[in-house]
Symmetry: C2
């Protein structure tokens, strides 16, 4: 990295991205490189550099010093590029096939040069189109078990774990989550964004003391519980996949937090798909929901039994206690994600792209209701099947009402 390590931060252009790829000797000398900016452009540039001679490519991702989603006025730490690259590498130690390879990083330029995954599709986009990802939930269940177990106190010497807690301290991006997932949607806050037809439901949320009490507990957990190195933003837009492959990208929100947060975010984004679907198409998603949890939990439980650092691993009931805690936490975090994706600042295309207004509003109400139920009843929901049952009940409730 000596070539670029001394550079001052400046935004890359398509031309300078190609120059950088050449300087880094990532392609043969005779390569004919072209460049395309393929990011959604909210927080980062994503340049795809392709060698026209053989079609091989790399991605150069550069963090922008501001969030474009609400204009250039929201500055955002460039340190997140380093966090993202470090998290990809750390998670890659345990789940090498499930994250992109990192070739180079440069902290000054806030760039990560990594594996080109453009042959895959973003899972959110694919699911909306009805694409099938047969390996998705097995791969994500494994990814969750591998990354979360191996960065926890169960798998690491306490000195190593505590060093990672420092390395992955990520206050700025955690603050975004603290505000946008755990706070603003539950109060009449200016960042919220919801359709006027939801006004009554939204006010019910703001006035639901029991719900807010439970959200407060979940936020407390997010603020204080350093259980494992999380991805931190594991929605279906952070997963690239095909029928054969799954790759988890974009861990710029990585930090040491509660294990259930990653699981809950992923489950919530599957639940949104379930809510938008009917009949057998729902069953596909319910299969993924069930399989994500069962794959994670069986693998994680297996790891716990082999823990090198947990003196209490053989104590009857302890591993079950841990998995129950993670399960209930996951449901609560899933509930928060469902609500914030419906009425908070950052929406999901799964719901917003539904053109029929009556249907869209109905499904958004179902999403809110599901979120509330998961948050308030999470301690009573005792299995992943009970979650799927609840999804059925909520559709049914509304079909009577409307």
């Amino acid at each position: 990295m000596a070539v670029v390590a001394t550079k001052q931060y400046q935004s890359l252009t398509q031309e300078s991205a190609i120059s950088l790829a050449s300087e880094l000797s990532l392609f043969p000398d005779e390569a004919k490189l072209t460049c395309e900016e393929i990011g959604d452009g909210n927080l980062n540039y994503v340049f795809l550099i392709t060698d026209q001679m053989n079609g091989s490519g790399v991605i150069i991702k550069q963090a922008l010093p501001y969030a474009k989603v609400i204009g250039e006025s929201w500055p955002l730490t460039l340190k997140r590029a380093k966090i993202e690259a470090s998290a990809l590498k750390k998670h890659g130690e345990y789940a090498a096939d499930l994250v992109p390879k990192v070739y180079e990083t440069d902290e000054n330029l806030a760039i990560t040069v990594m594996e080109d995954l453009s042959h895959l599709t973003i899972v959110r986009e694919g699911l909306i189109k009805g694409e099938s990802y047969p390996k998705l939930s097995t791969d994500i269940g494994n990814y969750l078990a591998l990354t979360l177990y191996h960065t926890s106190d169960f798998a690491l010497h306490p000195f190593e774990k505590k060093a990672l807690v420092i390395e992955f301290s990520n206050p700025e991006l955690c603050k975004i989550t603290e505000d946008l997932i755990f706070t603003d949607p539950f109060f009449d806050h200016e960042t919220n964004d919801f359709e006027p037809a939801l006004q009554v439901e939204v006010e019910k949320i703001w006035n639901n003391k029991l719900l807010k009490l439970e959200v407060a507990k979940l936020k407390r957990s997010f603020l204080t519980e350093a259980e494992a190195l999380l991805h931190g933003d594991l929605h279906t837009g952070s997963v690239f996949a095909s029928e054969e492959e799954t790759k988890v990208i974009d861990p710029e929100f990585a930090f040491y937090g509660p294990i259930g947060f990653d699981i809950g975010l992923f489950l919530a984004n599957l639940i949104v798909q379930s809510i938008t679907r009917e009949g057998k198409q729902r069953d596909v998603i319910h299969g993924h929901i069930r399989n994500t949890w069962t794959t994670f939990s069986s693998k994680f439980a297996g790891f716990l039994e082999l823990s090198e650092f947990d003196s209490f691993k053989d104590i009857e009931g302890y591993n079950a206690f841990l998995l129950e805690k993670i399960f209930h936490d996951s449901l609560g975090f899933a509930g928060c994600e469902l609500i914030r994706r419906t009425i908070g600042l950052a929406h999901v295309k799964d719901l917003d792209s539904i053109e029929n207004e009556k249907k869209r509003i109905l499904l958004k109400k179902q999403t809110l209701k599901t979120g509330e139920r998961l948050i308030v009843s999470r301690q009573e929901i005792d299995s992943i099947d009970a979650v799927i049952e609840l999804l059925g009940e909520i559709k049914y409730e509304y079909s009577i009402i409307d």
Copy 2:
């Protein structure tokens, strides 16, 4: 600190401690300085430098690069001197009258120059002698509320809190606690140290699956829950007091951990005193136990209502939930402390100094029993009065048996 900042670490002697005090201009030029090493010498030197002209003094505390308790073979990070000085200063921001003033620090020499408190006595020693500290529990309750609230997410901007989590990362000293409080006493481990007459009780502990399950949960909390900047070792040997004053010293184990840990350690060390006493002398201690909790909890609750950073502070039930969690955590941690002080590596003089063997063994059994009950039943114990009732029951149980 320019004077000493360039020095390499070397153990101070009485002579070099006097030279250092002179160099630092802590006394007038005409001062006639004398020096006495007054530490218990396990982990640190504590030099008291006194000006014979007027009796004024300062303490120079120097961390040793090893723990003398088990010989020079146990190296111990010198970084703890910096942690201790920083924690005294940080806690001093909120509880200035309850901690010693820090005059100077030097990281290379691992020294802290601080207020001379030699007019006070160590509370453990005083309580053993039957001395009265009428302000003790009010002062410690206030100290706990002030230091724990003001370093928590409720009082600090998340960026500031997360910076402090890094500053006070203390893996080496946490490891001592993880091993000696939460692990070794519950297994047949070589660090344990107990009288042969306790063999049956000790084996019962090692075989008590329910107890070990609950200890596992408490250890998990200690490893993961970064709630506030703890003292980390708040037993009665870490408190200097008189009838008028209370000063908390020695926070070298400071780190971000669960709030109940500090409270639990202090309560446990009062409970040991309760177990060694009879009649009205017990009531004095029970008064301190009750008052420590009620002072802490009422003050902490008052602070929560004014929280600048907790959006959920006005949600009915949330502050009560927090205080209940802290209370139950405190009881569990107190239980661990009671057990480890009886059968683990580091004992307490309150019990070990009892010369009558039959009495000593009986009281040690009561201490173990109390620890077990607090750990296993902590979620069912709903008030500090119920704790005091339990202390009475356990004395009664044994008086029937023996």
